[in-house]
């Protein structure tokens, strides 16, 4: 029975059309309530709501909200922001143009989330040019301000 279930899910995902965010938005009626696969970087926050969670996946153009059972997001370690490159995931699920369950949101209800690439911390070395420019410009401003004040006092 478990084998049948796995085969069923696998076949469901195999039938899923791969679509980019812009294609989904521009052809929302065509994809509405259809099985799709959508790939991109997990960004922002993962918001736990009971036994489900909201996450957002950005394929480089637009982010789309993914509603998934909590169990599916356990593998996700990195969510993208300024200092982090998020996990790249492939989401299989049903696309909703106007989700009746979620107040009309355009979203994807995930049936499976596969991690394609693990994210990582983004090393941001401090720019020496900016440090020098910042420090020298600050000294210059203080000097200028002091000169201005001494002229005013005279």
């Amino acid at each position: 029975m478990i084998l049948c279930l796995v085969l069923f899910v696998a076949s469901f995902n195999c039938c899923a059309q791969t679509a980019a965010s812009l294609e989904l938005l521009n052809n929302a009626k065509q994809y509405d309530s259809k099985a799709i696969s959508y790939k991109g970087e997990v960004i922002g926050d993962i918001m736990i709501r009971g036994d489900h969670a909201w996450l957002h996946v950005n394929d480089g153009t637009i982010a789309i909200g993914i509603w998934a059972p909590k169990a599916m997001i356990e593998d996700i370690c990195y969510v993208g922001n300024y200092q982090i490159k998020g996990d790249i995931v492939e989401v299989f699920g049903t696309f909703h143009r106007i989700c009746l369950e979620h107040g009309g949101d355009l979203d994807i209800h995930a049936s499976e989330i596969r991690k394609v690439t693990s994210g990582s911390l983004v090393i941001q070395p401090i720019s020496r040019k900016k440090v020098y420019f910042g420090a020298y410009s600050l000294l210059l401003v203080l000097l200028f301000y002091a000169l201005n004040k001494s002229f005013q006092n005279k």
């Binding site: 922002g44 106007i98 900016k130 420019f133």
Partner: protein, 501 residues
């Protein structure tokens, strides 16, 4: 005979402009400190240190070089204001441009003008990876600009009262809360900061309840409040309010958008305990009436197409966008493409009307303003009565705005001139959009959004849009925020400089 501006006039303008640029530079130390200490984002913090130093240097040099004892008269004040908004745009764009998230310096200027004018149209690239430091500055812009750049200067940096009063008036404000304009400016700051603290707390707690981590919840809270109360519409994530997937969050935001669109004088009355003013005031009455009409039009359009079948969905998608447009905030719970693909022409027209009419005067909202809408309606009624009664009858029409006032022809004329000015702006931007090949309704939508300082977008505003359209929208946002008069004063100044004797 046109009189050429004198050296003293130019020095006066330069002096006050320098003080305002100096003030903008000082405000950049806030993201510098928070970036370094709180967010631990060194490179973004350095962007602000560099930009702040440049701004302070220019500001001090200008005010030093242009020092004069002359008071600022009305015309010069308007020119100062018009120039200071352009200067603020350029100076504030520096750290954003240094972030690497903008295609060009023009795009960064577009962003800062959009922020200061509390519009909310955005050209940022990869917002989801923008640093907290730069994101905070994006949201601080509306908070500063919503209160008014002149207000910053008047509150803390400008001496004397007649120059201060003229700066205050030059920014499209003609209401004083208290007799002294400096005290009025400081009171506006006081209201805003109290609301900021309360608003951040509420949004932070609601954010935590919907699953955001505490640090994220309060960061989002402060950003969303600043852009919501100041009716700007910026958000820290790329998909705007859709990011939160929460009815409660949307209701809280609706509350802040609505009170943000109220006249500061109305806030002052409420603070004094005069709650009756909420119902008696011509602006709140006009706002309620216009929202009802626009809701009818928009809902009729959505119902006709069967877009949102459920009442709750109609509220979260339809009504939210209506309030966002009417208060000229620009927050969205749908994607820009959905306006065109799902809403249809009638519903879109409803939103355009709401954006065009806008919020209350002397608030952070844009558009033609409810006070003008109310006065035009009252004047129209007065004229109808005059036509129907005998020629010798004296027809008096009054309205209540803080106090009871009588409609005067001089007042109606002033209102109609500014209204025509706004309509001209809406048409100008539409024509430029049409000339570049955009369809009529989309061009009108985006132009009205820019000139009305709204920020809702149907998809035209994008980093790839032509530079001429970016410049057009910058001009529209600038002129719309200053209610045109200061912009006209600036052009008049240049004409006088060239042609004057």
């Amino acid at each position: 005979m046109i009189l050429k501006p004198q050296v003293n006039d130019i020095k006066n303008i330069g002096y006050y402009l320098g003080r305002i640029i100096f003030a903008i530079g000082l405000t950049m130390f806030l993201p510098f400190i928070t970036g370094l200490v709180l967010f631990k984002e060194a490179n973004p913090a350095l962007d602000f240190l560099i930009s702040a130093n440049i701004a302070i240097f220019i500001g001090v040099a200008l005010s030093w070089g242009c020092k004069t004892d002359k008071e600022l008269h009305t015309g010069s004040a308007m020119v100062t204001i018009a120039l200071s908004w352009l200067a603020a745009m350029a100076i504030s764009a520096m750290p954003l441009f240094l972030s690497g998230h903008y295609k060009s310096f023009l795009d960064a200027c577009f962003e800062t003008m959009s922020g200061f004018t509390t519009t909310g149209l955005t050209l940022v690239q990869d917002l989801d990876h923008l640093s907290h430091t730069h994101n905070l500055w994006r949201h601080l812009g509306p908070f500063l600009g919503g209160q008014g750049i002149a207000i910053i200067a008047i509150s803390f940096l400008v001496r004397g009262s007649s120059g201060s009063l003229n700066l205050y008036l030059g920014e499209g404000r003609d209401e004083k809360l208290v007799p002294n304009v400096i005290h009025t400016a400081r009171f506006i700051w006081a209201i805003s900061i109290v609301y900021l603290i309360l608003g951040t707390l509420v949004l932070g707690l609601v954010g935590m309840s919907i699953g955001l981590k505490p640090q994220s919840a309060f960061f989002h809270g402060v950003c969303i409040f600043m852009a919501g109360f100041d009716t700007a519409g910026f958000s820290p994530q790329s998909i705007n309010i859709l990011y939160y997937h929460s009815l409660v969050y949307e209701i809280v935001i609706i509350f802040f958008m609505v009170i943000g669109s109220f006249n500061f004088n109305l806030h002052y009355q409420i603070w004094k305990g005069n709650f009756k003013e909420l119902w008696k005031n011509i602006e709140t009455r006009s706002l309620l009436f216009v929202i009802m009409i626009v809701t009818l039009i928009t809902m009729a359009g959505l119902r006709h197409l069967g877009v949102y079948s459920d009442g709750m969905i109609l509220f979260r998608k339809g009504f939210f966008q209506i309030i966002s447009g009417q208060t000229t905030t620009g927050y969205m719970t749908i994607y820009a493409q959905q306006f065109l693909k799902e809403w249809g022409d009638l519903a879109l027209t409803g939103i355009i009307i709401s954006m065009a009419l806008g919020g209350c005067a002397c608030s952070t909202a844009g558009g033609i303003k409810m006070l003008r809408v109310g006065v035009i309606y009252k004047a129209f009624r007065q004229d109808i009565k005059r036509m129907m009664l005998s020629p010798s009858a004296v027809v008096i029409q009054k309205f209540h705005h803080i106090k009871t006032m009588f409609i005067e022809d001089k007042q109606v004329r002033a209102v109609l001139i500014v209204t025509l000015g706004y309509l001209f702006l809406y048409v100008l931007g539409t024509l430029v959009g049409l000339g570049l090949g955009y369809p009529f309704l989309e061009a009108l939508f985006e132009s009205t959004s820019a000139a009305g300082n709204v920020g809702l977008s149907c998809g035209i505003t994008d980093a790839s849009m032509p530079a001429i359209l970016k410049v057009t929208y910058i001009i529209e946002m600038w002129a719309g925020r200053l209610e045109l008069m200061s912009v006209f004063a600036l052009f008049g100044f240049f004409v006088a400089f060239v042609k004057g004797k």
